[in-house]
């Protein structure tokens, strides 16, 4: 298991806390919670070690597109970067529809 943390400046506060996904084979769960301040902190726990570069790129791309201000928790059970991106987009969309 590996723990990763990334921090980004952000300016679009989410409207409501959001939970998507499960920590099941090839999937992950994402929790978005409103946060004060101007930084989005992404905390990741993943069962697959050695992919921090890939995670960084996936999260950076997501943040560049969405800019959402939230506290983000990710519990991953071997999701592919594609699945991660889709889940993140899904979570972001739900969290913005207050």
């Amino acid at each position: 298991m590996e723990k990763l943390t990334y921090t980004f400046p952000a300016n679009r506060p989410i409207q409501r806390k959001t939970h998507v996904g499960v920590v099941g084979s090839g999937d992950l769960e994402i929790l978005l919670e409103p946060t004060k301040g101007e930084e989005t902190v992404v905390e990741i726990r993943t069962g697959i070690t050695g992919y921090s570069d890939t995670w960084k790129r996936v999260i950076e791309r997501f943040m560049a597109q969405q800019q959402i201000l939230a506290s983000i928790t990710i519990n991953d059970f071997g999701a592919t970067p594609g699945v991660v991106s889709i889940r993140l987009a899904q979570a972001a969309e739900v969290s913005m529809n207050g």
Binding site: M1, H19, V22, V23, L31, R45, T46, G47, N75, F77
Partner: protein, 560 residues
């Protein structure tokens, strides 16, 4: 009316399932993902936890009726029950029971999708399942408890015992119900016993349709949400139940007639199960001598070598007066001649489970009118439940539910139950014979072991090596096999020191009798007939059940 596609429960996640069944807008989740009640035991084993520990608890209504939904997430750790998920399940049922006792009926619906105990937390699963079982038995006095097994996993292991306790069971054709999963039966008994890869045969054997045709479940529905709701509603509006767990005479008669010379086909077993009836005279073959075992030794010395009143040679039962109190001792023992060849070495099989149920029930009935309820002492020396093809085919899960329910009922009706662990106390066998006791006594002895699955099978299921499992067990006491580790979880009332478990001296026997007597007095001092005391011991509070207690407190404050 717009026609819509079916809404599948099989394809949905646990949370979606609960929401889909409850009236729109009525659902309120307790201890949801944002409350972060995750397993404290997984990270230490390099496993990523889930924020709800794979257990969804939701209150709401179905057609306006207050409902509690407990929905297990099969995608997280195979729906395995760990400390937190187990405490959420048991704690919610305990609150529902409290409501019902106060006249506010709330109707529990359990949506199963589970392989049983989560092997990474092992004995926590065992403790939780005992508490869940106890709560279901108590709740049934007030409201029907409905179980739904949509699939894909189905319901297995210790959790299938709780499914067997439900007032009514609804399945789909995709769902499966059994005690030992096919892979584990194959691992323990060999491929000639059962080929777990033969999927079509497995579904014939333990799938929803086969179980329905065997008269073991109540409904099989097509996988669409309105069908489940209709099935639940029909259970509620017509509360006449099959009460299969009370049919020990019928099951024992049927099992006695079986010939196990060849494999019995599922199509044959369905007819036998469907037509089960009580036969008046059952005569077992008792000619195969009396294989020595610790269970037999302790039964003999504690009853002063009283003859067993039980028909089955593998279950010893006798009543004995001591210091003005009546005790019923029950032991499960080996029999090399057992027709059920997977239960020859003291395993808890079909006949053993139904027989234990019978003699516990009989004590309850005989003492029903009396204020003085006899003490029941399960003597535990059971290397596990029987892993076999016929065991699964004929519903060993239900047989075990029956003995669990008999003990739980006896305890709840005021029989003090003092469990005496003299040897192995393994898995479903211990759940069915011992774990429902008010107090558990155990010998401090190397041969006394408590766990949920053999190391080999546990390694297979968790995709680890036996060495890795042993390494984890050093830091996660619930995974260890020794009695000291089990005691650190807080459920053992007394660990008896210095007893020669195989050849006790008179002084040692006296010491054991005194401990049973003092545990009995301890039980009779209060009016509490629940298993709550396991959460109140110093070990439990300090460390062993910390999360179990925290979860219950949180349920309490969120319940409303």
């Amino acid at each position: 009316m717009v026609s819509t596609l079916p809404v599948s429960l099989v394809e949905s996640k646990a949370r979606e399932r609960a929401q889909a069944i409850l009236d729109e807008g009525s659902a309120r989740e307790l201890l949801g993902p944002f409350d972060r009640f995750e397993s404290p035991h997984l990270e230490a084993q390099n496993i990523v936890p889930q924020s709800d520990d794979g257990m969804v608890i939701m209150k709401g209504t179905i057609h306006g009726r207050p409902t509690l939904i407990i929905s297990i997430e099969g995608n997280f750790q195979g729906g395995g029950i760990g400390e937190v998920s187990g405490a959420k399940f048991a704690g919610a049922l305990e609150k529902a029971l409290e409501d019902c006792q106060n006249g506010n009926l709330i109707y529990p619906v359990i949506i199963y999708d589970t392989g049983g105990v989560r092997l990474q937390e092992a004995n926590y699963g065992l403790l939780s399942i005992a508490e869940i079982s106890s709560a279901i038995v108590a709740l049934k006095e007030y409201v029907p408890v409905v179980g739904i097994i949509p699939g894909k996993i189905g319901s297995f292991g210790g959790m299938s015992l709780t499914a067997g306790l439900c007032s009514a069971l609804v399945m789909t054709r995709e769902g499966r119900l059994g005690m030992n999963g096919p892979e584990v039966v194959e691992q323990e008994a060999g491929i000639q016993e059962l080929n777990s890869k033969n999927k079509q045969f497995i579904w014939e054997m333990i799938g929803g349709k086969g179980r329905l045709k065997s008269g073991l479940v109540d409904r099989v529905v097509e996988d669409d949400v309105p069908n489940y709701i209709e099935a639940i509603e029909s259970v509620w509006s017509n509360p006449t139940f099959a009460n299969r767990t009370l049919q020990y005479e019928e099951f024992l008669s049927m099992l006695h007639e079986l010939s196990l010379d060849g494999k019995i086909d599922p199509s044959v077993s369905r007819t036998l199960l469907q037509n089960r009836t009580k036969v008046n005279e059952i005569k077992y073959d008792t000619s195969n001598g009396k294989t020595a075992s610790r269970g037999r030794t302790w039964f003999n010395v504690l009853t002063d070598h009283a003859p067993s009143i039980s028909q089955a040679p593998t279950v010893l039962v006798a009543d004995k007066e001591q210091d003005g109190k009546k005790f019923r001792y029950i032991a499960v023992v080996p029999d090399e001649g057992n027709k059920f060849y997977r239960a020859r070495h003291g395993e808890f099989g079909l006949v053993e489970a139904w027989t234990v149920a019978k003699y516990v029930r009989e004590a309850v009935e005989e003492d029903a009118g009396s204020k003085e309820k006899r003490v029941i002492v399960p003597i535990v020396d059971v290397p596990g439940q029987a892993f076999g093809y016929h065991e699964e085919l004929f519903g060993i899960y239900l047989a075990c539910s029956a003995s669990v329910e008999a003990y739980a009922t006896a305890r709840q009706q005021g029989h003090p139950i003092v469990t005496l662990v003299v040897g192995k106390a393994i898995s479903g066998a211990f759940l069915s014979h011992g774990m429902q006791g008010n107090r558990i006594l155990a010998f401090d002895d190397d041969q006394v072991q408590v766990h949920v699955m053999s190391k080999k099978s546990a390694a297979l299921v968790t995709m680890r090596t036996v060495e890795e499992l042993e390494e984890f067990a050093k830091t996660v006491p619930s995974m260890a096999y020794d009695v000291h580790s089990f005691k650190s979880l807080g459920a053992i009332h007394e660990l008896l020191q210095g007893i020669n478990a195989d050849l006790p001296s008179n002084e040692q026997l006296q010491q054991v009798k005194e401990s049973i007597q003092s545990a009995t007095n301890d039980i009779l001092q209060t009016t509490d007939r629940s298993l709550r005391i396991r959460l109140q011991s110093p070990e439990a509070i300090e460390k062993g059940r910390k999360a179990s207690i925290a979860v219950r407190n949180a349920i309490n404050s969120q319940w409303k």
